[in-house]
Symmetry: C2
Subunit: 344 residues, 2 copies
């Protein structure tokens, strides 16, 4: 009788503890979201207060959308896709609508999305008619055994699987077009000095236009997504770092989720996104320490740009060696997002 | 007078030591070369003794060429290019002449070359008319600021810089063509079950055809090169791991040079080549330990294939989780190369 009572008491205690744990894990579920919209010589001298306001507002809208979805219990992979879609739809960023023009006066976009839960990943390179290249990347991830599809045939596949088609006129933004003309004119005057693909300054400010989003969701899963129009006047079917796993994009629940922006070639050579994760996995560094060490490496290689990152505990980083980077973040604990454009 | 004598003696001693060091470093200069020609279900049951002899002879020729060049004092980057060129020229391997056919009955080749000295790298993806795709990759590395160029425009650029053009008929090998027809027939009979890009068994043996070479030269520099025709019946402009830095190819003097072959998608998701190097750099593992740990990771991910590697001390690895891998190596200390095809 006494023993029976004891067992019941013990069982009740176990239930109570389990209940408490459930409530704690639910109410304290961590989530965090970080975004970027490109890096470059972003200084107060180069940007009007109106433009700054416009950009900050677009960044804030993107972070808020992500936070809302996360708070609603959406998974990391769904959230990074939706947030990058929103940024692709904005003509302010060099991705989707507003992508820069290549040497032939066309827009060619790259995108990549990676799920840290199972390392599944999809990427498209050199697509011109997917309204949202990141949706194409997601379809490659979910509907094929492949990681990377390129060009017109990639487009055709994605559209056959439900991605929205968009005509070239949809992506057209006049200031981007005018900028290509300026660059072509300058190239003509400097003929012979060009290697056929320099990283031209984009409208004097945003040298490296890319958008990216990294997230940790309530369930502890990480994901990363990156999308870009590449470089103004790019030639020869150049592919940058954005669609390359481990270069411009990486996510693993074992370490962190990373999205980069900058001189893509240095991010590829330095396997920058994977290196931040590898330093955490193999050298037991924190996300911040790993980010600092990798930024140092990038700078030593003479690469320009930056990256955003998040780990499973909701720690976030936004690091860059340029004058500025369009960026923003929030976590489940914050009342409103932080958005920034300059170095300070 | 006495002091003067002492100084002279000291100077002579210094000269003598310098001479000795020079002789030692010259005569003991380490070099090593490892190659692969693809991995798959390579068993005695699947290969005739004649075919085995033919393949071994081609592998031996490639290793010997590399060893000769290294012994002559050529640099790592020159050697990996020349050795991969020779393998591309052989119809036995799925790279250059003898590349497999994609869904449209065309050959689309990818190649990548990386110099461990400065992490400089070049890659081409989806090229159809470069006699030696690896030469194209080298030109991208040396003549542009870019890492990766793709498609027809990449070809045009490489040819304008001196790469040799070759007509489709040059690459044609009848057995590859017949195999595509067989695969297409099978696909027709299984319509609906195909995701548009499975890794079809290539002639029943060499599932994953790729060629690769890694080298440490007399000066301690590492380099890696990989070249492939991809998968039979590949669709949608699929890009595999071979031209992706850190996936199928990687080299850094800090750690090792790696070239991979296998289910490319898993090598991309697992950043396999970079991971072996990262385990050496960040976890202080030996090349062999890092190789074993990474092969384990690949196997856990359910990826098939293998890789070759070399470090600055001339240690070599040739590891795979398939039944066999075409492979060979030699070092400055060995009288003749070792070449193997089966698992034993």
């Amino acid at each position: 009788m006494f023993l029976n009572g004891l067992i019941k008491l013990e069982t009740m205690r176990t239930y109570l503890i389990m209940c408490c744990l459930f409530v704690c894990s639910w109410s304290f579920a961590d989530y965090a979201i970080v975004i970027h919209g490109g890096a470059g010589t972003i200084t107060r001298k180069n940007i009007t207060p109106e433009k700054e306001k416009e950009i900050k507002s677009a960044l804030e809208e993107a972070v808020k959308l992500g936070a809302q979805l996360l708070s609603d219990g959406k998974t990391a992979i769904e959230v990074v896709e939706k947030v990058v879609m929103l940024m692709e739809d904005s003509p302010l960023f060099n991705a989707g609508k507003g992508a820069v023009f290549n040497h032939e006066g066309k827009q060619e976009m790259d995108a990549c999305i990676m799920d840290g839960k199972d390392l599944s990943v999809g990427a498209v390179a050199g697509v011109a008619h997917l309204k949202n290249p990141i949706v194409g990347a997601r379809l490659v991830k979910d509907s094929t055994r492949h990681v990377m599809l390129s060009g017109k045939r990639a487009e055709g596949f994605c559209i056959s699987k439900g991605a929205e088609y968009a005509d070239s006129s949809y992506f057209f933004v006049k200031s981007r077009w005018d900028y290509l003309q300026k660059v072509l004119e300058r190239e003509k005057n400097q003929s012979g000095q060009n290697d056929g693909g320099a990283a031209y300054m984009d409208e004097g400010t945003l040298k490296y236009g890319t958008v990216g989003c990294v997230v940790v969701d309530k369930y502890g899963n990480l994901a990363a997504a990156t999308s870009t129009g590449g470089l103004t006047n790019k030639k020869y079917g150049r592919i940058g770092d954005s669609p390359i796993v481990g270069a411009g994009t990486y996510a693993s629940n074992k370490s962190c989720a990373i999205s980069c922006t900058g001189t893509g070639e240095f991010f590829i050579r330095g396997t920058i996104a994977r290196d931040i994760a590898a330093l955490m996995e193999y050298k037991n560094l924190s996300l911040e320490e790993a980010g600092k060490e990798t930024l140092q490496k990038l700078t030593e290689m003479k690469g320009d740009g930056g990256f955003i990152g998040v780990d499973g505990k909701g720690n976030v980083i936004m690091m860059f060696n340029t004058e500025g980077m369009y960026r923003g973040y929030t976590t489940h604990e914050m009342e409103k997002p932080v958005v920034k454009v300059y170095g300070d």
